[in-house]
């Protein structure tokens, strides 16, 4: 591993996994942590427990801000384990000189999103550090939720499952790139940032047989699929043409040389459901504005275990690897 921590080690892809497994997992080794789920399942399977820190530039962007992100991120991690978010903690590190008005705006966003999730902040911490010590504001949220349905795990996916995605992918990553680099588009592109608990509750209440769920944040859909292929020792065969990507996101990808599958999402999740329940799951997802273009994207096989294959509509195939390195734009 590199002697210094690099930005690539926080990419949600291979270097990030290496950092986590060789340093943190090595030291904190235990059965719950090693399951490597979105949230830890504790207390005899009754509770889900998760934490996440948020840093984003710019703090306010099309479709959301760091406050909404900080609540959605942790609540969605709980929801992905079939848990209803209940109690959160909120810890903020603020750079001196930060505008109080902007802080209030961020906290208002957090409040609104907490209400959507039916969760409350029960403990917190505030630190103010000298200018230059942090980039404006960092927020950590930790959450506990009660598990609605037990047994959801990304370690149990089999050839009886198919893979669905809840909506078009890559919006958050593309929005942040566009905002950061001042890329102007004639059409509106906004982050998909949203809470997913309503969709999850609807699926579980209808008794859809969900094997695994994961929100495709850093590293995008390709990171999720690769993690699942490894965790469940399966091959995931993706029909490339079925992957929903908006024209705006395609445009950013074409201009900068990115793949939408590698771009971050903040309100898009990937599901593994039993084949016979796939149609029912899609119908439920379609009833929500946020997931009205949910679609099946892949089958599970044993062809190349622990690998993800992209099948093109013109008869070629290739592996889809987890993203590596920093996401950098192409040169020419």
């Amino acid at each position: 591993m590199n002697k210094q921590i690099t930005l690539a080690m926080g990419n949600g892809g291979e270097e990030n996994n290496e950092l986590i497994s060789k340093i943190f997992y090595k030291a904190f080794k235990n059965e719950i942590l090693e399951k490597s789920e979105d949230a830890a399942v504790i207390h005899g399977g009754e509770l889900a427990f998760s934490t996440d820190s948020f840093t984003v530039s710019p703090l306010f962007f099309e479709g959301a801000d760091i406050g909404k992100l900080a609540i959605c991120g942790t609540c969605n991690d709980l929801a992905m384990m079939g848990a209803k978010p209940k109690y959160l903690t909120c810890s903020v590190i603020i750079e001196e000189g930060f505008s109080t008005r902007e802080l209030e705006k961020i906290v208002r966003s957090m409040k609104k999103e907490l209400e959507i999730n039916g969760a409350i902040v029960v403990s917190g911490d505030t630190k103010v550090v000298p200018r230059g010590s942090v980039d404006k504001i960092f927020i950590n949220t930790t959450g506990i939720g009660t598990i609605i349905k037990k047994g959801i795990s990304s370690n149990n996916i089999s050839t009886d499952d198919v893979i669905l995605v809840s909506r078009d992918i890559g919006r958050h990553g593309a929005t942040i790139f566009a905002a950061r680099e001042g890329i102007e588009l004639s059409s509106t592109l906004e982050s998909d940032c949203a809470s997913l608990i309503e969709q999850v509750e609807a699926l579980l209440e209808a008794d859809v047989c969900v094997t695994a769920m994961r929100d495709a944040t850093r590293g995008g859909v390709s990171a999720v699929l690769n993690e699942w292929a490894k965790q469940s020792d399966i091959c995931i065969e993706v029909e490339e043409e079925s992957i929903p990507v908006s024209q705006e996101v395609y445009g950013i990808c074409e201009m900068l040389g990115f793949e939408a599958l590698n771009l971050a999402n903040e309100g898009t999740f990937v599901l593994a459901v039993k084949k016979e329940d796939a149609q029912k799951a899609l119908e439920i997802l379609h009833s929500f504005e946020n997931s009205k273009n949910a679609v099946k994207i892949a089958n599970v096989s044993q062809q190349y275990k622990q690998k993800v294959i992209l099948l093109s509509s013109y008869g070629t195939k290739r592996f889809l690897d987890a993203p590596t390195g920093e996401l950098l734009p192409r040169i020419c």
Binding site: T6, E15, L328
Partner: protein
Amino acid sequence: MAELQLKDLYDGFRNPEVIQGFAKLINEEAKKLSRPINIMEVCGGHTHSIMKFGLPQLLPENINFIHGPGCPVCIMPKERIDHAYILAELDDTILVTLGDMIKVPGSHGSLQDARAKGADVRFVYSPLDTLKIAQENPDKKVIFFAIGFETTTPMTTSLIDIVIKKEIKNIFFHINHVTVPEVMVELIDSRDEHVDSYNNRIDAFLGPSHVSVITGSKIYEKFPKEYNRPVVVAGFEPVDIMEAILMILRQFNEGRCELEVEYKRLVSYDGNTIAQALIEKYFEKASLFKWRGLGNVPKSGYKLKEEFAFLDAEHIYSDILPKEEIEDHKLCICGDILRGMAKPNECTIFGTACKPQTPLGSCMVSSEGACAAYYKYGNLL
């Protein structure tokens, strides 16, 4: 008139029926060939499209792609990366460059390593973004480490133009712009000299369309005439590449050897003359430019004209920038790969000691490098 959508720029060029249609025509045409042919795609962007879209899976065995040296990062020799590293480490200096360049290892490490150690290294999407950095940091020297082929050169000269016209005092340049035709000549000559065996011969070239958008197709005129190699200037979408292959095959079967343009939607014979004038205003050809793995290639790189030496970081910092040449890692065969003499998976350290996360050679570093393309897309079939 309906507004042009981004989708329109590529949609039809990924159409499955059209791709399969071209595959059928190519297979029919290939049956008539009297011998297998080797097509060199000069540009790393083509290499990546070919691998990403799995095009070799659609082609007959007697069509072989040879990957060329056209990747700005891959061809950058270690000594010039060391220059960037040394400049980045200077106090009160911000080193600015484009994308992947920050990942390439020099002999001290990569610019990413320099950044992790505290150097102020930034990447930009467009050289013009350097203006904002310089404006926000008036007390710092901002050095733009300029890289790339004919495609990125005009953007650097636009930045120079603004710096001069607006009398901006804190932007300087380290110029590493290179040109395609000269290295194509070098590849033909070196092959013909050493191993112009049937298998190693470059029979035809796929010319990168974005280069010709700037230069025009005229830069390739001499290859069919003087070197007996056809050139087809092609876009980067799968339909573009498949059509260009068909055009090359038809030339062989019809006994023609010509310069043709597949990418007619933007490439003209003369190219962008405004961009060309700007390049001529500020740059002249250096007598030699060292390409990683290929050595010194005459007249293949640009440098700032002497009258603009006050902007030239290489000149200003000449006392601290080393001039000695540095050998590449002895197990790395990037040189042979860039010459098209070897395929990435023929390298003994490919995918083992040399991976995108821990690259030993630049062909694995760059997202446009042949090794990175093979690593990312080529391990299935």
